[in-house]
């Protein structure tokens, strides 16, 4: 079967992705363009009995004049004939209401000599909007073929496929000649480069004024002086002129081909806007929606998460009892299975969060949120869209980091990703609760506020405050070569298409499991190996050592007590145990001993592991919280005497967990989202370094 390349081009928010989903179904994959963090969506569609199409959903763009990394991807591909994705045919997708704006990029594509089809989406809503189109007139003026489709009703796609399969019959002629803006200049270009497409040259020349780093492998521009006869401001003026020329053509075309009954439905947008963007109610509604999202990922997810947790635990138990005992069985049952469980456990939260986010995006509400919050957020270098990730970070940083993808501006997206781990996620809660219970008196302040509750609340504030403060700091420190502008479209309100929502949820979940999941699995296996093997016989023959000790001390222990004593002994003499002892001099100034050191290292897998590890070290058999607490409160500081967990060391631990980057899964997902180890490593070093200093100061002041 023959295969051709089809590229979908169009403005953001104009149903391009809906058309892509309708053509490819679930037969698509999402990746990244090499070296950058722009999402690459591609899929395969069967066009006819003999023809398949590789379909590329290019990032949304308003024109071929790139002003962002996303748009640059589009331009680079369309200028580079040698790219393996270079399209045989381009489908320009537009919603019926945004036709005017989408025709701008359409006329540019025609000037490049690319075969273009115009697909007008939401054709089913034309009547309701009072719009009628003279297709033949439109095709004649634009020198193209037009397909009316509806992604919602799934109609018109047969016709679109038919047009794609006969793409060779499309006219390569341009429909709006841009060279009129400076005839002489364009003439000179033609003379200098007789074999090149003139408009392509023009785009390459002007990209320097716009974006500056266009890769021009294909266009052999020898450093020719002929091109440098215009200053940047002259070029900018010419570009402006070009846009005016194109819009004049478009307006004339639409005057001939499109009729609009002005009296038809216009009130919907206005009345929704009146409520959702109200100076008071707008914020109340948004706060309510945030609360709902928070509730769902915090509470509802708990049910499937507990189920996943238990299932993996029993699977691992079952494997241990079924498979013959040995290294290999233990690796599977104690290393790999819990490692995979540690990935799967995040799926409910990710799926729920993206269910909400894609609905908010699809309905057009997200743009209103940006409008409402822009003024506050821009002061901290954040976008209005940063609010959703930051608030959902209070449940878990993993889905929150992934949610920042929806922020278009790269700097704002990066800052959001970098500061999310400061917000108090739910994995910190077990650590906070047990330490607060140990060191903060259970008394009330002014007979009203419970001290323990106040401290917990304070920790939440510290987390959020730190996130906002570091965002502001990063905003001041990070330099961008170009000024960032704020121009956002306020799309029409739409009912979300369930298929689009479903595909987003599946995509995001898949990209987490197969992207960040690999790293999480690898690290959890390493941590397991470090805790399950030791360098000497004290580990391998722990049983004998413990039995001897018990004998010599004349202790009378039950089988269960003996076993917990053995596992505690093993952990102390495992690699991780020695690492804990190794870092003791480093953590001592914070008020910790080597046992806490071990717990801190192993809780890198997930913060809540801290409590479980301490339970094993102190050889408290069950994970019953009260027993662990009791045991912890009895622990004596070996150096200075007195309780190990006192106010000073307790506060120091609380602050350490508030600030330190103690979560490998977050690092993995940041790596995946930023496409480099640079940013997660920076987070690790800066956050943990900061946590260390703060805890050090706190302990030294309080002790």
């Amino acid at each position: 079967m023959r295969q051709i390349n089809v590229a979908l081009v169009g403005n953001p928010n104009t149903g391009k992705t809906s058309v892509f989903n309708a053509l490819t179904g679930l037969n698509q994959k999402v990746g990244n363009y090499p070296g950058i963090t722009v999402e690459k969506k591609e899929g395969v569609a069967k066009i006819s009995r003999t023809l398949k199409a590789h379909i590329l959903d290019l990032p949304g763009t308003y024109s071929l004049n790139a002003s962002s990394l996303d748009e640059n991807v589009v331009v680079e591909l369309l200028l580079n004939k040698n790219d393996k994705d270079y399209p045989d045919v381009v489908v320009v997708v537009s919603d019926i209401e945004n036709l005017k704006r989408n025709l701008l990029v359409f006329t540019q594509l025609k000037d490049l000599g690319l075969p273009c089809i115009l697909a007008i989406n939401m054709a089913d809503r034309m009547d309701r909007k009072g719009i009628s189109i003279d297709i033949l007139k439109l095709e004649e003026r634009l020198k193209t073929k037009v397909a009316l489709v509806s992604a919602r009703k799934n109609t018109g796609f047969d016709q679109l496929k038919e047009l794609i399969s006969s793409y060779k019959q499309l006219s390569p002629e341009s429909c709006c000649d841009a060279s009129v803006i400076d005839k002489q200049y364009f003439h000179e270009l033609k003379d200098t480069f007789p074999n090149q497409n003139i408009y392509k040259l023009w785009l390459v020349i002007t990209q320097d004024a716009n974006f500056g780093n266009l890769d021009r492998k294909d266009v052999e521009l020898k450093k020719n002086q002929a091109l440098k006869t215009k200053s940047i401001s002259e070029l900018k003026r010419l570009q402006q002129k070009e846009i005016i020329v194109r819009y004049t053509f478009i307006n004339d075309t639409l005057k001939l081909a499109l009729k609009k009954d002005i009296n038809a439905a216009k009130g919907l947008r206005a009345s929704f806007d009146r409520i959702l963007m109200h100076r008071v109610w707008g914020y109340v509604i948004f706060a309510f929606i945030l609360l709902l999202i928070f509730q769902v990922i915090y509470e509802w997810s708990a049910v499937p998460m507990d189920f996943i947790d238990e299932s993996f635990a029993s699977l691992s138990e079952w494997l241990k009892s079924t498979l013959p005992d040995g290294q290999f069985t233990r690796l599977i049952a104690e290393g790999i299975i819990p490692g995979i469980g540690g990935i799967v456990i995040f799926i409910p939260q990710i799926a729920f969060l993206f269910l909400f986010i894609s609905i908010l995006e699809e309905t057009g509400y997200m743009s209103r949120v940006v409008f409402l919050t822009d003024r506050i957020m821009k002061k901290f270098g954040l976008s209005g869209k940063s609010i959703v990730p930051l608030v959902s970070g209070t449940a878990c940083a993993i889905p929150a980091v992934m949610a920042s993808r929806n922020i278009e501006n790269w700097k704002e997206r990066l800052i959001t990703i970098l500061v999310i781990p400061f917000t108090t996620c739910s994995a910190r809660l077990p650590v906070y609760l047990i330490i607060i219970a140990l060191v903060i008196p259970d008394e009330t302040f002014l007979g009203l506020f419970n001290y323990q509750g106040l401290v917990l609340l304070l920790l939440y504030f510290i987390g959020f405050g730190m996130a906002v403060f570091s965002a502001w700091l990063l905003h001041k420190v990070m330099k961008t070569s170009r000024k960032t502008y704020f121009v956002i479209e306020m799309p029409n309100y739409k009912l979300p298409i369930p298929k689009n929502v479903l595909i987003t949820v599946v995509d995001k979940t898949k990209s987490f499991v197969f992207g960040a999941g690999k790293i999480i699995l690898a690290i959890s296996i390493i941590l397991w190996v470090l805790a399950s093997y030791g360098p000497n016989e004290k580990f391998s023959q722990a049983e004998d050592f413990v039995k001897q000790e018990v004998k010599s001390q004349n202790l009378d222990l039950s089988q269960e007590e003996l076993e917990t004593k053995i596992s505690s002994y093993k952990l102390r003499h495992s690699f991780i145990g020695y690492m804990g002892k190794g870092i003791e001099p480093v953590v001592q100034p914070l008020g910790y001993d080597w046992k806490i050191g071990i717990a801190v290292i192993s809780s890198f897998a997930a913060r809540e592991v801290f409590v479980g590890t301490l339970a094993t070290i102190y050889s408290v058999g069950s994970e019953n919280e009260d027993t662990i607490k009791e045991r912890m409160s009895k622990e004596v500081n070996p150096v200075i005497g007195g309780k190990m967990f006192n106010l000073a060391s307790g506060i120091s631990l609380l602050l350490f967990y508030a600030f330190a980057m103690q979560c490998m899964s977050t690092l993995a997902v940041v790596k995946r989202e930023t496409n480099t180890w640079k940013w997660p490593m920076l987070q690790l070093v800066l956050m943990t370094g900061f946590a260390y200093i703060v805890s050090l100061i706190a302990y030294q002041l309080l002790k």
């Binding site: 409008f371 409402l372 121009v487």
Partner: protein, 76 residues
């Protein structure tokens, strides 16, 4: 000369001039061009950002950008 930032809510005007140096090309591409009509639909506190209808496109821009688009107010 007045700019978009001087308009009141609901007021309509015709775009007269834009400073190509300070305005992002993206705004022009969305239809913010001399001769087109602009209407302020909503504005947030202290007029920042502004929610506009330009040439049938609904969009929001910050006040600093709005100041760079000069307009002639249409009396109605």
């Amino acid at each position: 000369m007045k700019s978009i930032a001087d308009l009141k809510r609901g007021q309509k005007a015709t775009i007269v001039d834009i400073s190509a140096e300070t305005i992002p090309l993206k705004l022009l591409e969305m239809g913010c061009l001399p001769g087109n009509e602009v209407e302020v639909i909503k504005m947030a506190q202290i007029k920042d950002p502004l929610y506009l209808n330009i040439n049938d496109t609904h969009l929001a821009i910050r006040k600093e950008t709005a100041k760079a688009v000069l307009v002639k107010i249409l009396e109605d």
